[in-house]
Subunit: 409 residues, 2 copies
């Protein structure tokens, strides 16, 4: 047995303890860590400075790695907010008495040990630990090697708070070995991890599919569409597309493709041209005939999650053509319709197969905070267990409880 596996077994033991901790204790740990984050901001920034000094890339990864006072305050506030969420545990979701007198219930319990693989952002360390502990789980965290000093400093505060409240410090643990070999072994700790959540790009997803032997929930790509229907408030449609594309282009709930009904394509696309002047437009032939600056979209464009100020556009002749396009190119994340026709809204909601379907609202709302979950570990684009933002409830499972007075079959 190697060190990683031994550490995993300690975390599994810790999970059995934290699962039995009271609501009050679990809340108190989060509030305590929030306080320690505020009181030890300088110490965390010093650790982060070591990471930044060793970091040679100049791209967006550097910004994601960097902490500052506001970001640390944000981490603390997120924990305070989670502490105030209602206890996700021990809810009775099914309650029945069978004809033979057996009482049958399903109750909500923690999953156990949650593994998370993520990239540079050190705030994820604290956010995920908060979601796990609030829901009675242990967190086994495999962060980026670039963030090791920052993550270690943050986890040290968690250990102090856990110890103060009588919980095992192993409840929140970092994978010490951040090599690629170790991440593969991490994905195969079948007697440790009850659920593994990868937060990362296509390479991580591919590695998960290839190597993972534990149950996992994929946080996949978001190729999100907005369908602008024939009958709609066109100013609203422009607002929703502009917000979906430009408010934060690099996130998975950003809008990537607009499908527009042929009947209003002329008016809508000329408004879009003006309203999204900073955005590159890639469209089909009709789009090109209406928006002179548009370049011709390929199949690959429609399949792309740009995560950039680029928008694919396609003119369609009906809601059915729009839904077929989404069925073909969508990644099961978030799909919106802008329409004034209630029957079309209902068809969209019922037919489109995605984690989230929206009517007359920006795709950017598909986020744990915006939906009222108090945070999220990731956004699931698969269908098993959790779909869409994974908050506290998604870190639990259900247990059957059967009470009898001697029944046999």
């Amino acid at each position: 047995m190697d060190a990683l596996h031994e550490q995993g077994l300690r975390i599994r033991d810790a999970a059995r303890v934290v699962a039995q901790a009271s609501d009050e204790t679990r809340r108190a740990v989060l509030v305590d860590v929030a306080e320690r984050l505020r009181n030890n901001t300088d110490q965390i920034l010093a650790a982060n400075a070591l990471d930044l000094a060793a970091y040679t890339d100049v791209g967006a990864g550097r910004d994601r790695l960097a902490l500052n006072e506001a970001r640390i305050a944000g981490m603390a506030d997120a924990l305070d907010q989670l502490a105030q969420m209602p206890d996700p545990l021990y809810e009775v979701v099914h309650d029945d008495v069978r004809p033979n007198g057996l009482g049958v219930q399903k109750i909500r319990v923690p999953l156990g040990v949650i593994g998370v693989v993520y990239e540079n952002r050190p705030n994820v360390t604290s956010d995920v630990a908060g979601l796990c502990v609030r829901s009675g789980n242990a967190a086994f965290l495999r962060g980026s090697s670039a963030a090791t000093h920052s993550n270690t400093a943050i986890v040290a505060l968690w250990h102090e708070a856990l110890a103060v409240h009588g919980l095992p410090i192993d409840t929140v643990s970092l994978v010490a070995d951040t090599s690629h070999e170790a991440v593969v072994r991490f994905m195969q700790l079948t007697d440790v991890l009850d659920c593994l959540i990868p937060r990362g790009g296509p390479n991580l997803i591919r590695a998960m599919r290839e190597h993972a032997r534990v149950p996992y929930v994929l946080d996949g790509d978001g190729n999100c569409h907005v369908f602008v229907d024939e009958s709609c408030d066109m100013d609203m449609a422009i607002r929703i597309v502009r917000n979906g594309k430009t408010s934060r282009p690099g996130v998975c709930n950003a809008t990537e493709t607009v499908l527009v009904h042929r009947a209003i394509a002329d008016a809508f696309l000329s408004q879009l041209d003006a309203a999204l002047s900073e955005v590159e437009i890639r469209g089909d032939a009709i789009t090109q005939s209406l928006v002179s600056r548009a370049v011709l979209a390929t199949e690959e464009d429609y399949a792309s999650e740009y995560l950039d100020l680029i928008l694919a556009v396609k003119v369609v002749s009906s809601i059915d053509e729009a839904m077929d396009h989404v069925a073909r190119f969508g990644t099961g994340h978030s799909e919106a319709i802008v329409t004034s026709d209630p029957a079309h809204a209902d068809r969209w909601v019922r037919t489109v197969d995605a984690a989230a379907v929206l009517v007359n609202a920006s795709t950017r709302f598909i986020d744990g905070g915006e939906l009222g979950l108090g945070g999220e570990v990731g956004i699931s684009t698969q269908k098993l267990h959790a779909r869409g933002p994974m908050g506290l409830a998604e870190l639990t499972c259900l247990k059957w409880v059967v009470r009898g007075n001697g029944q046999i079959r």
Copy 2:
């Protein structure tokens, strides 16, 4: 693209259609197949006779492969019963209005394409198809090669009924190539299968962990325990252990180990000795001193799912020791306590980590039919998505529905 993958894409298209079928249509298909099973019993028995004639094994597999009039009637009755279950689809399980006015719901929708890998029993073909279609899903079924004639005859009746009710016949499909190579490719149809459920032994589970690239729910082993507490109705305890061990030893919810409190071990084990005379007892040293015919149990015995008339026994000094034993050797299936102490019952229920915990009832009740689910595709021993018997609700997932009037972030 090979034939299996092409077939899969047709099934995926069928799944989009059946997902939109009305409750009435989905019920009607099941009732229709039930009728056809009753009217074509001879034809199915003739197909089954071909399978049996080619089958050379003499073990339990032959019995599992064999159909008769009663078994076919049972398949038909199961479908009629499923048809009468309430519609599992479109239930609103979460309903909220956010401060910005967005209406936020979670609704229950079909998973899509359910893959099932199973062994000889031809009745599974009809049972699983019934659960899938009732819940708006398509079923892609990989049965045993030994049952090919039987399965093909049963699926032919499904195709007739689906066509009569205007649904694509691909909604219920068999994997034609039942080779081992094809089953590995089946487990990797990532753009086809939304959920794969293996029903089989340790070899299949190992193959799944190794080769599956699609989301799956494991139907694993059941090493089920009964803890006989210090304070209990001893006659009830004997009844529950006897029922758990002997009523059907070969199934996963059979009792495999009895843990008995030291304070009552003497009286209880002498009653057990007499009441389970046909059962081999393997126990620890104390058990051996009380039951002269008991052989010494090894660690391996405590880890075994015997599926036979063999019972492991261990004397423990407390409920804590019992729970530690279950935590170490249990497989997360079904764990029972027999006790008259409500505080011990509550601790057991809250602390023991398994799909099902029982108080004063036989482990044999952990079954979809007994729990009121109307049937089951399998019994999940993992925690993600479904835990315990997988009925209609476990073949669905939740979709977020967000309705606004132009909200942006």
